[in-house]
């Protein structure tokens, strides 16, 4: 084993440090200066060795903070540690120690670390701000929000509104699916049926479903209840895996009550209309039954037909009625299979939507055509038949009522109520053309009207 000479040993050591190092003597002259220091300062050893620091080189730093640190260290005669900006403006952590009568300076560039730390601090601050904002929003909005951070939705966290709405004492809601039924403070119902805990929106969202606008009723043990419009969505991690779920609920109890009340009012109104129709029916019956039974029957049929279209419209909440549904309802007495004395009736066409007024006009007109056919036309014999079909082309409805196989037709000598309803009532209501052709082989009625007028809301 040979011992290397001390100069070589020293060079090996200062290079082996792997970080910038230099040393100065009592006259500030640099006598050691490794290649890491050369890289840091951007000056080779040849330019630095023998130069006086703060005098020949970095003279401008003589009175600066870092100049003072070096001077203090030289004067103090003991180890000094700290962080500072180096001569070239980089953040460094340093150790200065007495070396003979001079000073050894070992340091490390920590600029990257400082930047990373600053970025992290910035990100943390931004995240903290966002969390604070979110918290403020959650506590302020008049919507109840609760969420879970586990896919099994065992622990629920709720905002202030949710706590108020669900009458809970603290910021944590119980997970209904974790509670035995007798311990649940409230239960959820949909259309009057209890919703099992694992079918509630949050639980479904925690399984990946997106729940939008589901109306649920929450009933408390105190018999109190609320109607909630709920939405729920899964919370996913960066890789898309489900990490929890969030649920929002708006209290729509008042709106629900209002809607129910409105429904009840409409129901009562319809009830009165129908009772009144029955009274009118009775009055007509009392008035004509004995003097003119034929007229009494005819009137009653018209009234019942009107009542029929009223029923159709009521079922659709007075939004309109389908043409095929309407034709089917009006012609029902003639479609009955047992009624083989009457002829065959067939109809075909799209179930286009008619606004209420159009529906009433159509219903009355078709009724008159059918009544006429039963009295004089194709439906007055066993052989006759009626074919009703309609098409919708280029924004227009084209309907054709065609009788055949009945007795020979001759034009009526006078125009009665039926003709009035068909030709005038319907044409005016539909903004269209209605024509009745008393063809000898059978009555043909054609209706041509713009679809837009038929369907537009009243």
């Amino acid at each position: 084993m040979s011992t290397p000479d001390s100069k070589k040993l020293l060079d090996t050591i200062i290079e082996g440090l792997g970080q910038p190092f230099y040393a100065i003597d009592k006259d500030w002259r640099i006598f050691l200066y490794n290649s890491e220091a050369a890289r840091h300062f951007g000056k080779p050893a040849s330019e630095m060795i023998g130069k006086r620091i703060l005098i020949d080189v970095f003279a401008a730093d003589a009175d600066s903070e870092r100049g003072r640190i070096i001077k203090d260290a030289m004067a103090g005669g003991k180890v000094v540690k700290g962080e500072a900006l180096s001569m070239v403006g980089r953040h460094v952590s340093y150790v200065m120690f007495p070396l003979g009568e001079g000073l050894g300076v070992l340091f490390q560039d920590i600029t990257e670390r400082r930047l990373a730390e600053a970025r992290l601090a910035e990100a943390e601050e931004a995240s903290r701000k966002r969390a604070a904002e979110l918290e403020a929003v959650l506590e302020t909005i008049p919507t109840a929000v609760w969420f879970t951070k586990d896919p099994q939705a065992r622990q629920l966290v709720a905002n202030r509104r949710a706590i108020e709405m669900l009458h809970m004492p603290k910021g944590v809601l119980p997970s209904l699916s974790r509670l035995p039924p007798e311990q649940r403070p409230y239960r959820f119902y949909k259309d009057g049926q209890e919703v099992p805990a694992d079918q509630l929106p949050l639980q479904r969202a925690a399984r990946g479903e997106i729940v939008t606008d589901e109306l649920l009723e929450v009933r408390f043990n105190s018999k109190d209840y609320r109607f909630l419009l709920m939405r729920s969505a899964p919370l996913r991690g960066p890789s898309g895996n489900i990490q929890g779920a969030v649920c929002a609920a708006a209290d729509v109890t008042e709106r629900h009550h209002y809607e129910e009340h409105l429904k009840l009012l409409v129901e009562e109104l319809n009830h009165r209309v129908r009772n009144t129709l029955a009274i009118v029916q009775s009055i007509a019956n009392q008035t004509f039954k004995h003097s003119d039974p034929k007229a009494a029957t005819e009137f009653e049929k018209r009234l019942l037909n009107l009542s029929g279209v009223h029923t159709l419209l009521t079922e659709q909440h007075w939004q309109g009625a389908g043409l095929r549904d309407l034709v089917s309802a009006v012609l029902k007495p003639y479609l009955a299979p047992s009624n083989d004395r009457l002829g065959r009736v067939a109809f075909a066409g799209e179930n286009i939507r008619l606004k209420p007024r159009s529906a009433v006009a159509f219903s009355m007109a078709i009724h008159e055509l059918a009544t006429n056919a039963a009295k004089y036309g194709a439906l007055s014999t066993a052989q006759g038949s009626v074919d009703v079909r309609w098409t919708t082309d280029a924004g227009r409805l084209g309907l054709r009522w065609q009788e055949s196989g009945g007795p020979e037709v001759s034009p009526p000598t006078h125009h009665g109520f039926g003709t009035l309803m068909v030709k005038r009532g319907l044409a005016a209501e539909l903004h269209g053309d209605v024509a009745i052709d008393y063809d000898r082989s059978g009555v043909i009625c054609t209706i041509d009207a713009p679809l837009q007028v038929l369907g537009e809301s009243a």
Partner: protein, 125 residues
């Protein structure tokens, strides 16, 4: 001839119903327009079936219906309501919608269960 109890508080509608039921070969055994009287009649009168208006003077006629079901007497409701939900226990009841034709009344009658005849043991015949 089947005997019928009519519960209807609107005189003209009751008259119409009465006329139609006669045409269908029924005899009106009793007619009542308010709840308390209807309950009394339903408990005591002798009839084969009943037509009950749901809304009568004094409230809904459901208690009358309950009494009739208890007595085993077939009955139908007549009503101007088209979408109202009946109480669950009457959900399957026959319903006659006002205004109605003779044919519709006849069809409703045909849906009524036939009241059980007094059972006769074949061995004692």
């Amino acid at each position: 001839m089947r005997r019928v109890l009519i519960v209807e508080d609107e005189v003209l509608v009751a008259a119409l119903l009465e006329g139609m039921l006669r045409e269908l070969g029924c005899e009106v055994a009793a007619l009542s327009g308010n709840l308390s009287q209807a309950l009394e009649v339903a408990a005591t009168a002798n009839f084969d079936f009943a037509v009950l208006d749901i809304n009568i003077d004094g409230g809904p006629s459901y208690p009358v219906a309950d009494l009739l079901i208890q007595r085993g007497v077939p009955m139908m409701f007549s009503t101007g309501y088209s979408t109202k939900r009946l109480p669950d226990r009457h959900a399957d009841a026959v319903i006659l919608h006002k205004p109605f034709s003779l044919e519709q009344l006849q069809a409703a009658l045909a849906r009524l269960p036939v009241p059980p005849r007094p059972s006769v043991d074949p061995r004692t015949r």
